[in-house]
């Protein structure tokens, strides 16, 4: 049975005990999927599963605490759920998880940076390619070229936590090294150029907070410290330093918690490469504490604990 059929079958069987099941449906054009809230058996037919199902549906869970819901999760998405469980932000018994072994999802901005999709007519998804029909003709793009960066180094193609798994466990097939490639490009720049880089990229930020609202681990949401006056970390002033402050705030609040799901960057209407900021911190956290967020529900995020002796921290001598 194909994955989608298994999913539909599973949802069909569990739906009665749940308020709804969150999955994906076809969006407004062939390239866009959109989250689907399955409330009735009639909604199940709308369910889709393909590499365009990019959304990390776990982002909806914290706001649904106290309600019994089902959710479809890819391997990477499941890490968000584990992290949320770890921090007590959701309850395991309230959630039914339909896990999906996943070979990777598409980064739409990678497609859009290659071809103009504004007049696109159709999309077909092959095993190793995306074929897009545009007025100028038929464009076939190798899937690997447009997969999300996280997918190219994915170590968790199968969800780490689930009640039902649609398909067989998929072993990791991607090399780990490429994960930090984009981070390393920035690290190799001269420090002044790094400043200029972020200045240029972050200046584009319109402070719409889509990055925050899309983040499954931003628990404060409506009470975000970026918008409050007590504390007042940021003002409404124009200027790139205010924007930088916001992005550092977001990244630091995620330090040791970010599962690299990439929803922040995907949600950004200005296509600012902010995932790299988090990934840099993840890299340091991994190096310092050997820790990866969202892998084990029993862990404690490394910044909420300590060791009396920290063998990996080389303190400065004076």
């Amino acid at each position: 049975m194909a994955i989608l059929d298994k999913l539909k079958d599973g949802v069909q069987r569990e739906l009665e005990g749940l308020e709804f099941v969150i999955g994906w449906e076809q969006g407004y054009d062939p390239l866009h999927a959109s989250p689907l809230f399955i409330r009735t058996p009639g909604d199940i037919d709308r369910l889709i599963w393909n590499p365009l199902c990019v959304h990390n549906l776990a982002s909806y869970l914290p706001s649904l605490k106290g309600r019994r819901v089902g959710i479809l999760l890819k391997g990477c998405d499941s890490r968000s759920v584990i992290q949320l469980l770890q921090e007590g932000l959701i309850k395991r018994e309230e959630i039914v998880i339909f896990g999906i072994p996943c070979r990777g999802v598409v980064d739409l901005s990678k497609i859009k940076s290659r071809i103009d999709t504004s007049q696109m007519r159709a999309v077909s998804l092959m095993d190793d390619a995306v074929v897009i029909e545009i007025p100028q003709g038929r464009e076939e793009i190798p899937l690997d070229d447009v997969l999300a960066t996280k997918c190219l180094s994915c170590q968790y193609p199968t969800p780490l936590i689930y009640d039902h798994l649609a398909g067989e466990v998929l072993p990791p097939q991607r090399p780990t090294e490429v994960l930090y490639k984009e981070v390393e490009v920035i690290e190799e720049l001269d420090v002044q150029d790094r400043l200029a880089h972020w200045e240029r990229e972050l200046d584009r930020c319109i402070r719409c907070y889509a990055c925050r609202n899309a983040c499954p681990l931003c628990v404060c949401q409506d009470y975000c410290a970026a918008e409050s006056r007590n504390p007042r970390w940021l003002s409404q002033r124009a200027g790139v330093s205010e924007k930088v402050m916001w992005h550092i705030m977001h990244a630091l609040h995620l330090a040791g918690r970010c599962t690299d799901c990439g929803e922040c960057e995907r949600a950004c209407p200005m296509d600012i490469p902010i995932q790299r900021i988090r990934r840099k911190i993840n890299k340091e956290i991994k190096e310092l504490f050997g820790y990866e967020a969202g892998v084990n529900p029993e862990d404690t995020p490394p910044l909420y604990t300590f060791k009396v002796e920290e063998p990996t921290i080389q303190e400065r001598e004076w």
Partner: protein, 347 residues
């Protein structure tokens, strides 16, 4: 409208034109700043123009900045008597002559929503008004709708002229330029514009060929939205919304703002910034009570405002120009057209 005497603007002449205009005006034009982002930026020849794509943000930022200082102030203490202090207030309005080149008809039409609220009605906003008056909008008419376009559903047109000062129609080798206003007429005096000749006819034909399917039937939507105000329709339709402000910030007609006094020490400024009805804080009251506590109420207000309350207050004018950006940027691909369709069908 002034006489629509058509002129021809050769593509090759555009850089020189903008450079010349740059002596008198601030000139903004669409520039590709990254692979996927096109923004209005101050014209620089090296940057190149991106006239064939919809800009990521509408030009409203140039007339209604995301952040603008309204006044700056400084407390001055009397050195002899510290009890006495006076406040020096300085208005910080800047409205230099500006040209925005390469605007789309939907975005130009979006400005008419601003005009209705900020300049034409009971209240006048001097900041917007001054900028609007100092700005000339040069619009390039559309040739091909995008999959998210729905201007015709809300009363616009890919070849519409509302809000524009000049319209440009793409023809072989360049554009046919036609003035819409006096301001536009003035601009056409530049040597870059040559008589249109038979290009005018080509332009007319080109315009005829463009069409955007009118996919929504919005008659009666204002009343319908009121009718379904209290139903569970809104909770269902907003389930996928993540309550960010991307849709409002890219919208050419959203004009909500907030004002804060930003004081450090004895000086500061009163600044106005865009606000978004999708934010919790937008309606949070000092008591802690929030009349729109969840995204459901907030999104309902956004749709209600654009398609019911605004047309009711402003002679049927929707608070939407059908540019489709909100659909494009929505992290959850929530499609406003679909919401309207379902709203009409609900109940």
């Amino acid at each position: 409208m002034v006489s629509r005497e058509a002129r021809f603007l050769a593509t090759d002449n555009i850089p020189a034109l903008l450079r010349r205009l740059g002596n008198t005006y601030r000139v903004f034009a669409p520039v590709k700043v990254s692979d996927t982002i096109v923004l209005f930026q101050e014209f620089a020849e090296s940057a190149g123009l991106a006239l064939d794509e919809q800009t990521t943000l509408p030009p409203k930022e140039l007339l209604f900045p995301q952040t603008e200082g309204l006044v700056s102030y400084r407390y001055r203490k009397d050195a002899e008597d510290l009890e006495k202090s006076e406040v020096q207030v300085e208005e910080t309005l800047e409205a230099p002559p500006t040209i925005i080149f390469g605007v789309r008809p939907c975005d130009a039409r979006g400005l008419t929503v601003f005009d209705a609220v900020f300049t034409d009605g009971q209240w006048r906003d001097p900041y917007y008004k001054a900028r609007r008056e100092a700005t000339t909008i040069v619009t390039v008419l559309c040739t091909q709708p995008e999959s998210t376009c729905f201007c015709t559903s809300v009363g616009g047109s890919p070849t519409g002229i509302e809000g524009s000062d000049i319209i440009l129609t793409i023809v072989t080798g360049g554009y046919v330029a036609e003035p819409v206003t006096e301001k536009g007429e003035t601009l056409l005096q530049d040597e870059a514009f040559t008589p249109a000749g038979d290009k005018a006819g080509e332009a007319g034909e080109a315009r005829e060929k463009v069409s955007v399917e009118r996919e929504l039937e919005l008659d009666g939507i204002a009343e319908q939205l009121l009718d379904i105000f209290g139903t569970d329709f809104w909770e269902q339709v907003t389930a996928k919304c993540i309550s960010c402000a991307a849709c409002t910030y890219v919208c050419p007609t959203c004009f909500c703002f907030t004002i804060t006094d930003d004081t450090t020490g004895i000086e500061g400024s009163r600044i106005r910034t865009w606000d978004s009805c999708m934010f919790y804080l937008y309606t949070l009251e000092a008591s802690g009570h929030n009349p729109r506590p969840t995204k459901t109420e907030r999104y309902r207000n956004r749709i209600g405002h654009k398609f019911s309350y605004h047309p009711t207050s402003y002679e049927g004018m929707f608070g939407c120009s059908g540019c489709g950006r909100c659909i494009k940027v929505c992290p959850a691909s929530l499609d406003i057209r679909q919401v309207l369709r379902e709203a009409k069908a609900h109940g």
